[in-house]
C-alpha cells in the first residue's frame, strides 16, 4: 500500500520527523515500511512563471522566444513547445536548477537533468519551461496536463511561487507492507492511527457530518439481503443532481500518490474513501436499477454476467450477486456490471458500502478469475461498522465538493452485529509472557493510543471493532510489546530444565555417508523431489514396473514437476549430464534425498519416504571404484561382514552385464552398476557413467557405531597362494564363498591378487590367483592344520570345474 505522508499528517497534525525516522519507527512498531520516494527528487530551482510576451525565433520556424515573469524579474526563454500563449502560468526551471526527467517520459535518470542558461540557434535562453513528464510524473496522475507541451497552471497560483509545492510534489510516498491480520491498516486512517501511537501524538479523525436534502432514501431504494451469511451488512445511500467534473487538486494529488489515476469527482470520491477508510464502495446509476430495488443473492449455476470491463464471467451458486428487481447488476465485492455503470450522464447515484464474507469473496474471485482492489480488501473480512462510516464520508464529500445533493437517511440491512471483544486486564500476564517489567500505567497509555478502552472498575479492556485481530490475552501482550518497543525487551536465555542436544541415529548415518562420499571424491548435489512422469520411459522402466506407481501432484507447476519421485536416478543423471555437457571432466556426485512410495493410489494415507544415498560418476573410474565407495561406507558404519553382490538385479536402466544388487545378511540394501548406454543416450551423455543407490532405511538396522577391540594377533600367520584356471562363468564371489565356507576357524583373510584372460589361457577359461591367510588365536599353526584347511578348500574348488595350477 502506497500513501503520501501529507495524507497521514492530515490525521496526525503534530507529526514531525524525517522520512527515515518515520520509516524506522513505523517498521519497529509493526507497520513495515518497504521504502519511500520523495516526489520532489531532483526538482531544483523551479518556480511559477507567467509568459508576458511571445515572439517568433528569428532563425527557427519551430521555436519561439518568450519573456517570462518569474516574480519581480523577467527572463527570456526559448522553447519549442507548441501549447503556450501569453498570460499562461507555467513551471520554470531556472539556470542551475534540475528537473527529474526528459519530456518523452522515459525512465528517470538517477541524478536528474541539470539546466543551464545557453543559446538556442543564437538566441539566449535563461531557463526552461517544464512539461509534467520533466517534473517526474505523467498525465495519468495530472490528467489536466497537455498531451505534448508545457504544464499550464490554473489562475490561483502566485507568480514566483515554488512550482513544486504548487503541483503538490513537496511530499514523500511511503510503501507499506501490511500483514494479513491487520485489515484496518489497509487504509490511510488505520496507518495514521498506528503512526499517532508510534510517535505518541494526537490522532484526529475527519469529522463526518452530512448535509442532507430532507428527502427520504426509502423513496428511492429498497434493499433485500437473501443471504446474510455471505453479506453481513449492506448500507445504501442516494445522491442526486450529480454534476460530473474533475475533483479538486488536493484529492487528485492524494489519489495519484497512492497510485490511483484521478478520473472525475464521483469516481475519485469512491476511490478516495476506499483508500481513506479501507472500505470499497460501489456507485450505481440509480436510473438503471429496475424497480429501484437491490437484492443480494447467490448467482444461478452457469449464469453468465458481463462486468464493467466488458468481459463475460461464468458464475456458480457460490458467487454472491447484487441484483435489481429484474437482473444482476454486479458481482458482490468484486466488480459491478456494465449494465449499471456510471456514465458522464448520470444524475442519480446509488452508493453501496457493504461487507461480505471474506473467504467467499476470495474463492469467488479465484473462480471467476477476477481479482480487483475491492475484492482484495473484502477477502480479508471487513469490519461491518466501518461500512456506515465510509458511506457517510462519501456523501459528505459529494455535498462538500459540489458534486451533488444527498438524500436523507441510509438503507441499512444487517444481521446480528458482532459484539465488541472484552478481555480482563492482566498486566502481570503480559509481562510474564514478554519477560518485561512494563508498568500498568504505561500499558494503559498504549491502550488509549490504539483506542482499546479500559474500564477501571471492572478492570477490563474493550477492543474496538476495527481490531479484528485482538481476541486473546496474547494479542494484548503483542500490543504492549509493539508500542513499548521490541528493542527494549531484554535478552535472556531460557532457564528451565536442562535438555541434551541430540542428533538422531539416522542423521548420524547420513552424516557418515556424506563424509565417506566426500572422502572418495564425490561432491554433494541436491535434486528436486518432483519430476516428470516421462522419466520412467527415459529410464527404460518396464510398463509394469512398480516404480511407475508414483504420487501425482494435483496442481503441479507443469508436467515436468508433476510426480513425486520413486527412483532417485533421474536427478542424478540430469546432474551428471549437465556437467558432461558443460565439459566438466571426471565428475563425481552424490545426493541424500527421499523417494516417495505410495502404499496405495490414490493416496489415502501418507506415503513411505525413504532416504536414498545415491552416487553417480563418469570419467576416470569404473564399476569397482563405485563398489569401493559402497564398501568404505559399510565399514564406516560398522557393517564389517561381506556384502553379497548379486548380478541378477534385472534393472533395465543399468548395463545388463555390469550391475548388481547389494545384499547384506540376506537383505537388499541397494544396487550399483554402469548406466545402460541407451539411458545415457536419453540423457545426452556420450560417456560411460556409474551409479550406486543405497537405501538408508534398509541399511540402518545393520549400522552401528559400537566398536570392540579384539586384540592384535600374537601368533604368526601362514600364507598360501593358489593359482587356478577357472571357467569364465564362475565368478570371484563364488570362489570366495567356497574359501570362506571351507577355510574353517583358522581362515583369517583371502585376497585376489591376479586375474587374467587371454591367449595363454584356453578358451572359455580365465586364470585367477588368491592369497589365503591362516592364523590361530591361541597357538602357532602347524603344517597339518593349514594343509587340512587348504585341502578342503581345494576340494571344493575342484568341484566347480576349477583346475589348480601348480
Amino acid at each position: 500500500m502506497n500513501t503520501a505522508l501529507s495524507w497521514i499528517k492530515a490525521y496526525v497534525p503534530e507529526l514531525t520527523c524525517t522520512d527515515q525516522e518515520y520509516m524506522d519507527a513505523m517498521t519497529l512498531s509493526g507497520t513495515k515500511v518497504e521504502g519511500y520516494t520523495r516526489l520532489d527528487k531532483n526538482l531544483e530551482k523551479i518556480v511559477v512563471g507567467q509568459i508576458q510576451k511571445i515572439e517568433k525565433h528569428p532563425d527557427a520556424d519551430k521555436l519561439i522566444v518568450c519573456q517570462v515573469d518569474i516574480g519581480g524579474e523577467v527572463i527570456q526563454i526559448v522553447t519549442g513547445a507548441p501549447n503556450v500563449k501569453e498570460g499562461d502560468k507555467v513551471p520554470v526551471v531556472l539556470d542551475g536548477g534540475k528537473v527529474a526527467g526528459g519530456h518523452d517520459g522515459g525512465p528517470l535518470p538517477e541524478e536528474g537533468i541539470s539546466i543551464k542558461a545557453g543559446k538556442l540557434r543564437g538566441v539566449p535562453s535563461n531557463g526552461m519551461m517544464c512539461s509534467i513528464e520533466e517534473l517526474g510524473s505523467d498525465r495519468n496522475f495530472y490528467p489536466e496536463a497537455p498531451e505534448m507541451g508545457i504544464y499550464i497552471f490554473g489562475d490561483d497560483v502566485q507568480v514566483g511561487a515554488d512550482a513544486v509545492e504548487a503541483l503538490g510534489l513537496r511530499d514523500t510516498v511511503f510503501e507499506y507492507e501490511v500483514t494479513s491480520n491487520r485489515v484496518d491498516c489497509y487504509s490511510v486512517i488505520g496507518i495514521a492511527r498506528e503512526a499517532a501511537a508510534t510517535f505518541r501524538k494526537p490522532f484526529v479523525l475527519p469529522e463526518v457530518t452530512v448535509r442532507e436534502n430532507g428527502e427520504k432514501v426509502e423513496d428511492y431504494i429498497s434493499v433485500e439481503v437473501q443471504d446474510t451469511e455471505l453479506c453481513p451488512r449492506y448500507c445504501a445511500r442516494v445522491c442526486k443532481n450529480i454534476k460530473i467534473a474533475p475533483s479538486p487538486q488536493w484529492m487528485q494529488r492524494r489519489l495519484a500518490a497512492s497510485g490511483i489515476r484521478p478520473i472525475n469527482n464521483l469516481v475519485d470520491i469512491t476511490n478516495y474513501v476506499m483508500e481513506e477508510y479501507g472500505q470499497p464502495m460501489h456507485a450505481y446509476d440509480l436510473d438503471t436499477i429496475a424497480g429501484h430495488k437491490i437484492i443480494v443473492r447467490r448467482a444461478k449455476e452457469g449464469d453468465v454476467f458481463q462486468t464493467l470491463d466488458g468481459q463475460e464471467r461464468k458464475l456458480d451458486a457460490d458467487v454472491l450477486m447484487i441484483c435489481d428487481a429484474e437482473k444482476e447488476v454486479g458481482i458482490a465485492g468484486i466488480m459491478g456490471g456494465e449494465n449499471s455503470m456510471i456514465t458522464d450522464h448520470v444524475t442519480t447515484v446509488l452508493f453501496e458500502a457493504a461487507t461480505f464474507n471474506g473467504a467467499n469473496i476470495r474463492k469467488s474471485a479465484k473462480r471467476v478469475g477476477l481479482r480487483t482492489d475491492a475484492s482484495g480488501k473484502f477477502e480479508k473480512g471487513l469490519d461491518p461498522y466501518n461500512a456506515e462510516a465510509a458511506i457517510n464520508r462519501a456523501c459528505q464529500l459529494i455535498e462538500e465538493l459540489g458534486c451533488g445533493e444527498v438524500v436523507s437517511g441510509m438503507v441499512d440491512v444487517h444481521g446480528e452485529m458482532k459484539e465488541k471483544v472484552v478481555l480482563p486486564f492482566e498486566p502481570e500476564r503480559y509481562n510474564k509472557l514478554l519477560g518485561t517489567d512494563v508498568s500498568e500505567q504505561e500499558m494503559l497509555d498504549i491502550f488509549r493510543m490504539i483506542e482499546v478502552e479500559y474500564d477501571a472498575a471492572k478492570r477490563t479492556l474493550t477492543i474496538p471493532t476495527f481490531r479484528q485481530d485482538i481476541l486473546r490475552q496474547c494479542d494484548i501482550a503483542e500490543e504492549v510489546a509493539r508500542f513499548y518497543g521490541y528493542d527494549k525487551i531484554p535478552t535472556t536465555l531460557p532457564n528451565g530444565e536442562a535438555t541434551t542436544g541430540k542428533l538422531p541415529f539416522k542423521l548420524r548415518i547420513e552424516q557418515k555417508a556424506r563424509d565417506i562420499a566426500e572422502y572418495c571424491g564425490f561432491s554433494q548435489g541436491m535434486c528436486y523431489s518432483f519430476e516428470s512422469p516421462k522419466v520412467f520411459d527415459k529410464l527404460l522402466l518396464a510398463a509394469d514396473d512398480p516404480a511407475r506407481k508414483a504420487i501425482t501432484i494435483a496442481n503441479p507447476l507443469g508436467e515436468d514437476f508433476s510426480i513425486m519421485r520413486t527412483v532417485p536416478l533421474h536427478g542424478m543423471l540430469v546432474s551428471l549430464a549437465t556437467n558432461y555437457n558443460r565439459r566438466n571432466k571426471d565428475v563425481r556426485l552424490y545426493e541424500l534425498g527421499n523417494i516417495y512410495l505410495p502404499k496405495a493410489l490414490p493416496l489415502t494415507q501418507l506415503p513411505e519416504e525413504r532416504m536414498q544415498f545415491t552416487l553417480g560418476m563418469y570419467g576416470d573410474c569404473d564399476f569397482f571404484d563405485m563398489k569401493g565407495v559402497v564398501e568404505e561406507f559399510f565399514e564406516s558404519i560398522g557393517m564389517h561382514k561381506k556384502a553379497v553382490y548379486d548380478p541378477k538385479a534385472d534393472r533395465n536402466y543399468l548395463h545388463p552385464g555390469r550391475q548388481a544388487n547389494i545384499e547384506y545378511e540376506g537383505t537388499l540394501v541397494g544396487y550399483l552398476g554402469e548406466v545402460h548406454p541407451e539411458v545415457c543416450d536419453n540423457y545426452d551423455m556420450k560417456t560411460r557413467a556409474y551409479v550406486a543407490v543405497l537405501d538408508i532405511p534398509a541399511v540402518l538396522p545393520f549400522a552401528t557405531f559400537d566398536r570392540k577391540y579384539e586384540g592384535i594377533a600374537k601368533y604368526p600367520a601362514v600364507l598360501r597362494d593358489i593359482s587356478m584356471v577357472v571357467p569364465k562363468e564362475v565368478m570371484a564371489g563364488q570362489i570366495e564363498a567356497v574359501i570362506a565356507q571351507r577355510g574353517g576357524k583358522i581362515l583369517e583373510d583371502y585376497q585376489l591378487f591376479d586375474i587374467y584372460e587371454g591367449s595363454q589361457i584356453k578358451d572359455g577359461f580365465k586364470s585367477m590367483a588368491y592369497s589365503i591367510t591362516f592364523r590361530a588365536k591361541d597357538k602357532t599353526l602347524e603344517e597339518a592344520d593349514v594343509s587340512s584347511a587348504m585341502k578342503k578348500i581345494l576340494n571344493g574348488l575342484e568341484g566347480m570345474g576349477i583346475e589348480l595350477r601348480s
Binding site: 535472556t492 542428533l503 556424506r514 561432491s523
Partner: protein
C-alpha cells in the same frame, strides 16, 4: 714397555687423524684394538714381565686402549655426521612442485549451513528431529491455527496431492508432531525440505529447505526468544552481529516478529549487498500461539514457548554470497567445488 705403549698410541692417533673414511677408521680399530691387534699383542707378551709388575703394565695397556678408543669414537661420530650431511645435500627437492592430493569431494553449501545451525542448537541442548515431506493438511495448516478458510493458505501456494494430503509448505508442521508426543519440555530444531508453488528463478524455487525451532517449557518469554536468537546470530555470522526484532504476523505465533541481522558485509553501515539498509532479514519467529498449544494437548496456562523458522537457502545464499538460487539445484561441479 711404557715407551712401546706410548709409541703405539702415537702411531694409532696419527693414523686416526689421517683417516678420511669410515672404513679406514675401522682398519685402525682392527690394527690396534682388535683381537690380533697391537695392544692385544702387548698383553700377550705379559708373560715376559715380572709378576709384580704385571698389574701396573696391565693398567697401562688399558689406559692406552681407552685413550685410543675415545679418540677413535669421536672421529667415527664426526665422520658419520659428515657422511649424512653430504647425503642430505644430494637429496634436495623442489618443494614448489605440485602436491599429490586425494581428490576430496565437497559438501553442498546448504548442508554446510545446516550443519552450522545444527551445531549451534545442539550445543544449546536442542534435539534435531524430522517430519514427513508429504504431510496431512492438519499438521501443515489446521493445527498451526490456519483453518480451512484462512487467507494464509492461499498465500502459501500449496501443492496438493489430495484434498487432505499435501507437500508441506513449512517445517512448522514438525512442531505439531513433536508437541503431540506429549514429552515436555521441548527444545528441538527440525530441518527439512518444503514446497511452494513458485516458478523457478534467481530468488525462487518450488522446493527449498527450512529449519524450524521450537522451545516449550514453563516460563518461556519473548525475552528468551530474543536472547536465544541473538546468540544464534552471533555464532552463525560472527561475534559483532547485532539483531533487530520487528513485529510481524504469523497465525501460529503471538506475539510474532521478524529478525534482521546487521549486514555482515558492511557491519550495518549500509552497502549494495544490504541495499543500503545495513540490515538483512533472516527469520520469522514468535511466541507459540496458545491455541496451537491447546490443539496439541498442552495447557497454555502452564506452558509457554517460542518458535522460529529459518530459510536454509537464504542463509547459504547470504553467507556465501551466491547470487542465483538456481545454482543450488544445478549441481555443476565447478559451483560445488567452491565450498
Amino acid at each position: 714397555m711404557k715407551e712401546k705403549l706410548e709409541q703405539i698410541k702415537a702411531e694409532a692417533l696419527r693414523q686416526i687423524e689421517a683417516s678420511d673414511a669410515l672404513e679406514k677408521l675401522n682398519e685402525v680399530k682392527v690394527t690396534y684394538l682388535g683381537k690380533k691387534g697391537e695392544l692385544t699383542a702387548v698383553l700377550k707378551s705379559m708373560k715376559d714381565v715380572a709378576p709384580e709388575d704385571r698389574p701396573k703394565v696391565g693398567q697401562l695397556v688399558n689406559e692406552t686402549r681407552e685413550e685410543i678408543e675415545k679418540v677413535l669414537e669421536a672421529s667415527v661420530k664426526k665422520m658419520e655426521r659428515a657422511v649424512r650431511e653430504a647425503k642430505l645435500k644430494t637429496e634436495v627437492i623442489d618443494v614448489t612442485l605440485p602436491s599429490k592430493k586425494n581428490k576430496m569431494g565437497h559438501r553442498h553449501p546448504n548442508t554446510i549451513a545446516l550443519e552450522e545451525v545444527e551445531r549451534i542448537f545442539i550445543g544449546m541442548g536442542y534435539e534435531v528431529v524430522e517430519g514427513p515431506d508429504v504431510e496431512k493438511d492438519y499438521y501443515n495448516f489446521e493445527a498451526l491455527n490456519i483453518p480451512a478458510d484462512h487467507p494464509a493458505k492461499d498465500e502459501q501456494d500449496t501443492f496438493y496431492i489430495t484434498g487432505d494430503i499435501l507437500l508441506r509448505t513449512q517445517t512448522s508442521s514438525v512442531q505439531v508432531h513433536e508437541m503431540e508426543k506429549g514429552k515436555l519440555p521441548i527444545r528441538m530444531i527440525a530441518p527439512g525440505r518444503v514446497f511452494r508453488s513458485d516458478e523457478v528463478d534467481a530468488t525462487h524455487s518450488p522446493s527449498f529447505h527450512q529449519i524450524e525451532g521450537l522451545v516449550i517449557d514453563k516460563h518461556i518469554t519473548l525475552a528468551d526468544l530474543k536472547g536465544t536468537l541473538a546468540e544464534f546470530a552471533k555464532e552463525l555470522f560472527g561475534e559483532d552481529t547485532k539483531v533487530k526484532f520487528r513485529p510481524h504476523h504469523f497465525p501460529f505465533t503471538e506475539p510474532s516478529a521478524e529478525m534482521d541481522v546487521t549486514c555482515f558485509k558492511c557491519g550495518g553501515k549500509g552497502c549494495r549487498f544490504c541495499k543500503g539498509e545495513g540490515w538483512i532479514e533472516i527469520l520469522g519467529c514468535g511466541m507459540v500461539h496458545p491455541h496451537v498449544l491447546e490443539m496439541s494437548g498442552i495447557d497454555p496456562e502452564q506452558y509457554t514457548g517460542f518458535a522460529f523458522g529459518v530459510g536454509l537457502e537464504r542463509i547459504a545464499l547470504l553467507k556465501y554470497e551466491i547470487d542465483d538460487m538456481r545454482l543450488l539445484y544445478e549441481n555443476d561441479i565447478r559451483f560445488l567445488k567452491q565450498f
